[in-house]
Subunit: 402 residues, 3 copies
């Protein structure tokens, strides 16, 4: 039983999608070219990089379309059309991200042209991931047209934030793009909060879960869980000297996830009144280790540090999912359907603290202070941008929601 929308809306989504797709196509005609490989310089390493990048791109691709698409199928009302709708949103968000990334972020903007390369496609998929995270907070509170427009606004906001961070703070792209979880989650929660204030009741009927579709959600979760090392490492190691770092990131993410899945299950069983695993909690919190290590990864060089980060992230996330979600509903009137605040925002901020702490511990005092200021600015700008843009997006008039 999909929601019944007004007749005017039924024809509006295909027309909006059709219109946007035509605009994207026209923009691609004028601005986008396929990057040709440089045959002169470094042939050997180029084709090796290609091989490596394509496999990693495939892993990220599977995560976006299979992982996120089926993660939310535990909601009975989601499911059949939901997983299809996820594909529509992600496909449009990727095309838009390729364009907006190319316009704003200069290193891929050669002679007023946007060049499609493995790197630009992977970055576009990461931007789409950030939009899919935001969507987790508003499932069941918006109509499809709103979701589609929200996804495109979210991607724009995230790329603008990236642009600010790289221009003002000269931030490392690999580090700043990993804040996608924090940005997406705060954005989504703000949209949900504003919509709620406007009188839309949280429809608990839409939160019902089902054991049968639960196995589909398990598939989605596992695809995310298994390929997360590729997600974190995809943009690391474009240059030979970073090859060791790439491997460190892969092993670190792998270990962090292994610990966080164990902790997520333990906490879920301990906090449940019947002592049974609540698979919805587990599916969400098992991934928190990947989120946290993603933000901290360039500073993590020991397996046990990665495992400790996974340990703490799963602990916080599982407790947050269990207790904070209802508290937020009653105290702040903020409803967060998939609990993205505990799954993405809290582990992301935990990873940010771990990053700060690890850098401070290994640096001299002057450099340490300098780094701390820079590091705090990056998080503040990201958080402010996402809160402001989320509030603006959720406010009815710009969304034409009624």
């Amino acid at each position: 039983m999909a929601p019944q929308y007004a007749p005017s809306l039924r024809s509006r989504l295909p027309l909006v999608a059709f219109l946007l797709e035509t605009i994207f196509l026209i923009l691609f005609v004028f601005f986008v070219k396929i990057e040709q490989q440089h045959e002169q310089s470094g042939r050997e390493s180029d084709s090796k990089l290609f091989i490596s990048s394509y496999a990693e791109f495939q892993d990220v691709h599977v995560m976006i379309f299979m992982g996120f698409g089926f993660l939310a199928t535990f909601l009975v009302r989601y499911g059949f059309s939901g997983s299809g709708f996820n594909v529509l949103l992600a496909a449009m968000a990727i095309q838009w991200a390729v364009l907006i990334n190319g316009f704003l972020l200069p290193q891929r903007h050669h002679r007023r042209e946007i060049h499609i390369s493995m790197k630009s496609v992977i970055e576009a998929e990461l931007c789409a991931a950030s939009a899919l995270v935001a969507m987790g907070a508003v499932h069941g509170k918006t109509n499809p047209v709103q979701l589609l427009l929200m996804a495109l606004v979210e991607v724009t906001g995230f790329v603008v934030t990236q642009w600010i961070l790289r221009t003002l703070l000269n931030a490392d792209p690999v580090y700043s793009i990993m804040l996608l979880h924090v940005f997406g989650a705060l954005f989504g929660v703000m949209v949900s909060w504003v919509l709620h204030r406007e009188g839309i009741k949280p429809e608990h009927e839409k939160e019902k879960t089902d054991r049968k579709t639960g196995l589909f959600a398990m598939f989605g979760t596992l695809f995310l869980w298994m390929f997360w090392p590729s997600f974190n490492s995809a943009l690391v190691g474009d240059y030979r000297r970073e090859r060791g770092l790439k491997l460190t990131v892969i092993y670190g993410t792998y270990l962090s996830l292994a610990v966080s899945v164990v902790m997520a299950m333990s906490v879920s069983m301990l906090t449940s009144s019947k002592g049974k695993m609540n698979m919805v909690h587990v599916q969400s919190s098992a991934l928190s280790g990947g989120v946290a290590i993603g933000v901290a990864m360039t500073a993590v060089h020991q397996p046990w540090i990665a495992m400790t980060i996974g340990f703490c992230a799963a602990l916080l996330s599982a407790l947050g999912y269990r207790y904070m979600k209802n508290h937020m509903l009653f105290a702040f009137e903020c409803h967060d359907t998939c609990g993205v605040l505990s799954v993405h925002a809290i582990p992301g901020i935990l990873g940010w603290f771990a990053h700060l702490f690890l850098r401070l511990a290994s640096s001299e005092s002057t450099i340490a202070v300098q780094f701390a200021v820079y590091h705090i600015c990056v998080l503040l700008i990201t958080a402010c941008m996402s809160l402001v843009m989320g509030t603006a997006t959720g406010t009815p008039p710009p969304m034409h929601s009624h």
Copy 2:
């Protein structure tokens, strides 16, 4: 409730499969060897090619067994045993394709031996894909023994067509093998048409769809959709100079599929009376961009051209699936269970036109005419072979169907 076959049939399928498998095994004893890598020449590039090929082979492998196997699970009567039966057919078709490819197509036939290599296995899987496309048209109208024999005849016909094209017209293998969609679809539709004329009623009960198995079909579709860039590019770029072309094919297929999934959903919602997505339409038409770009790919060098091809393919395919299927049933008494005509044949022919047009636009007049004649011959031979062989296969006596 699987169909109830006569007692004689129940034991016939395992015996036929057992017999064929034994024959294949004996043929393998005498004719097939594993290709040893040439240690002397070009060691470096060889092992690099191996790494790249194995990953692409895995993607194609997943598409054949997971993608096609679950694509048809939206039919309630298909499903459990259906996805298993798909594996049986594909496994036998691949073994047969390795043999028949090795016998007929000389470049893999060294000193009267067939050598197994990544390339030969990928080609065998593409031939099996062509048989699986043909099967989409006849689901529910044949018994398993007929399906198995039909698959082997289809593979034989497709390889013979390849042999004719390469011998008579000196056709490019990468281009001619991509006509597998057109060959498979026309073959399947002709078999279905002949069987229908013989008095077998289309059993509409077998076309019922189900929301629960629909999510499984979504899985199959997504695996096909995600890995299609590997499917198209698997045979491109065996040589270093083609490396750039391989990347162009990957990006082109990726963009074409992204546009076609958006268009498939829009058209499905617009043409539906209730304004809802019909996931069966979407699952089918979303793939049409990959089919079309597969035929046109060697002539596509700009992202927007790939996107336009995906746009048109999805438009035609979705409208065709919506309106042409029933029209064909009443006008021509031709029943096409999974709509392969709109999903594979029409986008394939559209891609062929795009290829012709792009080449004509970029060539001088004399070369252009020469190319046009060659190009038209390739399609005509493929279409004729598939129509003739499909009709012959569907006619009862050679199939021992009753």
Copy 3:
């Protein structure tokens, strides 16, 4: 309806998992480091090996968590929480395997430190696979805490067996680790047998299968089936001279699996009273070709030998699953829930015989006798260790089961 455990047990599993995870974490702090790549020597081949290994590791990773996790979902009582529990067990088994492998098997133990590398992680996942095989025999007869402890004991036993084989017999690691199927299956069956003798009735209600969850089991099976070539070849070919062997293993496994899936279906249909495929039989026996070729692989150089091994393995395994399982239940009072004896032990021993026979056929008499003695010792030690440890593990007091 998950089983109802006593209240004391409900809180015991999370506490045990929490405690073990903390111990693992502390051990990682003191003993485990991430391996840094040697920048000085052989840069080129190192990074190429990395690329190749990471893709193969991903395939093995998918098999462990997706394949084994969903393989057992054909049991109605398994399923939702079962697939989650599989992840918990595998994640803990891998961490423990990294530690115990590093302590016992010297080549990864540099200067009293354990180094994490692609190879060590793949070996750890293979050890976890052996524990997951053992678990197939006891599903429904143990509580979660017992399963978790059993998995860790099994991994320990398997690594100790590896250590004995490598120290006493100087066995080839690639060959001895492939006996994981034999070790796991015998271990699991012994645990099941001892538990049964102690009066625990096989609960047939827990063996009920369901068509809907059957499709999920099909997914698990297909992931195992498709990626098995990577599973067998993952540890082959660390050195350049073995590159050809790696390819031979990949092609051999691929062909063996293609034949075994055809044979599994034929035998299943022939032995069924209604002539229908029993998907549970098929799902199990289709994999037997991969198990058998895994043990024999380093001696197989011709495609037809690989196919014959797959042929015989599927024949024996399907007949064994059909007839032996019930016979064992009544004759020996041994209940084997997922039939691991026919799926893993019998094909494994068949592969061992094939290996012996192929080596004897290609060697001189003196070397042949020497090899036969060595080969028989390897199997005997593996079998004895698994039988003894399985019996010890199943006996109640050390397990604190009641």
